[in-house]
Amino acid sequence: MFSKKFILHFILIITGIITLAPFIWMLSASFMYDGHANVYPPRFFPDEFTLTQYTILFERLDVGRNFFNSLFLSATVTFVSLFFNSMAGYAFAKYRFKGKNQLFNLLLSSMIIPAQVTMLPLFLMLKSVGLINTYMAIIIPGMANIFGIFLIRQYVLSIPDSLIESARIDGASDFRIYRSIILPLAMPILVTLAIFTFMGTWNDFLWPLIALIDDSMYTLPVALANLMGEHSKDPELMMAGSVITILPVIVVFLALQKYYIKGIMMGSIKG
């Protein structure tokens, strides 16, 4: 009979194949000519390899523009929110001030409010100042977030007070301590949060769908969903679009997976 070890690996490998099969099919269909993925039985490898779908996307459908939008917005939101969240997280971890615990608990408990609740007024607010259909419409609501503040606070709590005290005795200003002591020491959690924010912004769909109106302003997911309307019979083209959208996040994830996994574990430890 099969050993326990064999059965275990067999199940794991089957699960792995099921997990990866959609991606393999996506990648392979993206390299096919029109109509070559609409066949029975399905092909798992291109019969004739071509980059024509990618050429159509970039030359005719101007997806490069959407790629830039996604990249620019994800990077900007990541940078700004990291700055804001780290300052607030540091203040919550290492300063004493009136109402600190109440404020922190209020923030934590409001994490249960689904973002969809805010979207109607947010749309009206941004519309009244002419920011709908601009990059600011995505950047502004992403400037700070409670989860980020929480994550940084948890980490900064573990930095010894004595380091901060001795810097203060040496005459370092508060901002200087934040910049030269806290930020370098908190680097692992900043990297983790950067990945979370970057991927979250890159993958976000509902808010960009609401806040961006013109094709040229769309992020990749919105552009892709829009494209699906006209090209629902073109799997090869849509798969190339999916590859372009998914590939950057997979690359970022594979490169920095240790930080990402650690962040999930930290987020799951209740504070």
Binding site: T19, P22, A91, V117, N203, P221, P235, T245, Q257, K270
Partner: protein, 292 residues
């Protein structure tokens, strides 16, 4: 730590201002809007919106399409939630076995769907579910299963979305479960083995109780996330066929941003919030009773 008011407030101001202005104020505004007849005319002139008390909520109660959206969303949460948690736990337990080689590779593989863009994978799955050319029906044929019109049949469309959601999400909870399993002391199992407990008994008497806090956390975040179902039906079915996959958020989006019935849409958003709130409370209560 030295008390330094001004510095603390300077550090807090940027983030808290942003959160206050672009999160808390909108929440309150949405609550107020939900008691008005705010519509397309009010967008350009807020003055035309009138307070109508609970009329939006009463109208929702009598709106059969809203009930459909509610029913579909609950169907999704109640089936996909436990299913994805069970798969996550199963995968975590397999990967926690000492017999397994190349653990990091398996873990990484299972995690890849989690990080990928939902809209893009929903599009991929839309083609996977194609009744004639899709790879799923092709595989099922080997087991003698006749082709299923996954997204075209009102009875199959929601199961199809559930299947995809489980595939997409199980890796996330799996990671959290692995961490939870590693915190269970090995000697508990050894003692149970000496006492002659079998695998199932050990699972029921040691693994599950020891994992209870982890399971609570996992079920709450999964539930909150799944109640916000939107991109999958938007991309794969547009809520069809016959509204069988219309979700609460999708209905909110349509009412608010397609028909500009913002008062009505805000009421839908608050019902969603209310449901998530109650759901979280119930899970906490349930956990307390199980522990007692």
């Amino acid at each position: 730590m030295k008390t330094n008011f001004s510095a603390a407030y300077l550090f807090l101001t940027p983030a808290l201002t942003a959160i206050f202005v672009f999160f808390f104020i909108p929440v309150i505004a949405a609550f107020i809007i939900s008691f008005t007849d705010f519509d397309i005319y009010a967008i350009n002139n807020y003055g035309t919106a009138r307070f109508i008390g609970f009329n939006n909520y009463i109208a929702l109660f009598n709106d059969s399409l809203f009930w459909t959206a509610l029913k579909n969303t609950f169907y999704f949460v109640i089936v996909a939630g436990p299913l994805s948690i069970a798969v996550s736990l199963g995968a975590a337990m397999l990967l926690n076995s000492k017999l397994v080689k190349f653990k990091p590779i398996f873990r990484l593989t299972y995690f890849i769907p989690v990080v990928t863009t939902l809209v893009a994978v929903a599009i991929v799955w839309r083609f996977i579910y194609h009744p004639r050319f899709g790879i799923l029906n092709y595989f099922l044929e080997f087991f003698g299963i006749n082709p299923i019109d996954w997204l075209g049949d009102p009875n199959w469309a929601m199961p199809a979305i559930i299947l995809m959601a489980v595939w997409k999400n199980f890796g996330y909870n799996m990671i959290i479960f692995i961490a939870g399993l590693q915190n269970i002391p090995e000697d508990l199992y050894e003692a149970a083995t000496i006492d002659g407990a079998n695998g199932w008994q050990k699972f029921k008497k040691i693994t599950l109780p020891m994992l209870a806090p982890t399971t609570l956390f996992v079920s709450i975040i999964t539930m909150i996330g799944f109640f916000q179902l939107f991109a999958e039906p938007y991309v794969m079915t547009q809520g069809g066929p016959l509204n069988s996959t219309l979700s609460i958020v999708q209905y909110m989006y349509q009412e608010g941003f397609r028909w500009w019935n913002m008062g009505y849409s805000a009421a839908i958003a608050f019902v969603l919030f209310f449901i998530i709130f109650i759901g979280t409370l119930i899970q906490f209560k349930l956990q307390k009773t199980l522990e007692a």
